[in-house]
Symmetry: C2
Subunit: 118 residues, 2 copies
DNA sequence: TCATATACCGAAAATTTTTTCGGTACTTGG
DNA sequence: CCAAGTACCGAAAAAATTTTCGGTATATGA
């Protein structure tokens, strides 16, 4: 009752804005794959993240392009070729990715012991 | 069995491990609310985050306790009273929250103009 | 020719997350 | 007594996300 319908929650809160751009299951991993500035073809990205369904990666890449974190180049060749590359905006998120990587490595053992959590 | 991560994907990848602890819609906000080390009662947390359904906050707080990010003290009083406080482990995530806050503030305008999705 | 590769997309299924709703139990203030 | 507050929980609905499946099209190599 007290709380009302959502709308720009993500735009009200800087924290949620940032989160909303990277919280989807594979987005942070995609950023990490592209971080070095070398463009990657979709099929390469699929290979790098074999646990993810290719379709999801396509969808999330598309959203990341819309959000300006990644840019896509389509080469009008046959068979088709395209490449994704990280943008300046995407690069500006890398320090966050780095801290999360570091944290994850440092606290791995805790969660390994705690959860072979099924 | 409040929650179980199905595969150890999150344990294979430090990035996903970290993400999995904070990616739920309100967890990063909860950490931010508790960051100063002052315990808060559930009802206070509800008031701080009025956009979130109270039930969700309860569930996410419980998960965060299980994950060791937050600790809960129950005072055996009537009417009931309990408090949540951030742990050392939870505090170690604050630098990440901070970077995300900073990023969100710095790039607010871009997405303000852009928004529509999400 | 046929299997494979490239890239992409729609639809629906499956799964997960979030929200709503209604309930328990007890106390205090009006 | 009644309403409101405090904390909590189960069940189910709703919404969002992820996955699977099948399809488009073209080219190359065996």
């Amino acid at each position: 009752m007290a709380y009302e319908k959502k709308i720009p929650v993500d735009l009200d809160c800087p924290l949620r804005l940032t989160m909303s751009l990277i919280e989807s299951k594979w987005k942070s991993c995609i950023l990490d794959e592209l971080r070095n500035g070398n463009p990657k073809r979709p099929s390469e990205i699929h290979k790098c993240l074999p646990e993810a369904a290719p379709r999801v990666l396509d969808i999330q890449l598309k959203e990341m392009v819309e959000d300006g974190l990644v840019e896509k180049t389509i080469y009008p060749e046959l068979p088709p070729r395209s490449e994704y590359n990280i943008t300046e905006l995407g690069l500006s998120l890398i320090p966050i990715i780095d801290l999360m990587l570091k944290w994850g490595k440092e606290h791995f053992d805790i969660f390994e012991r705690k959860f072979g959590r099924k």
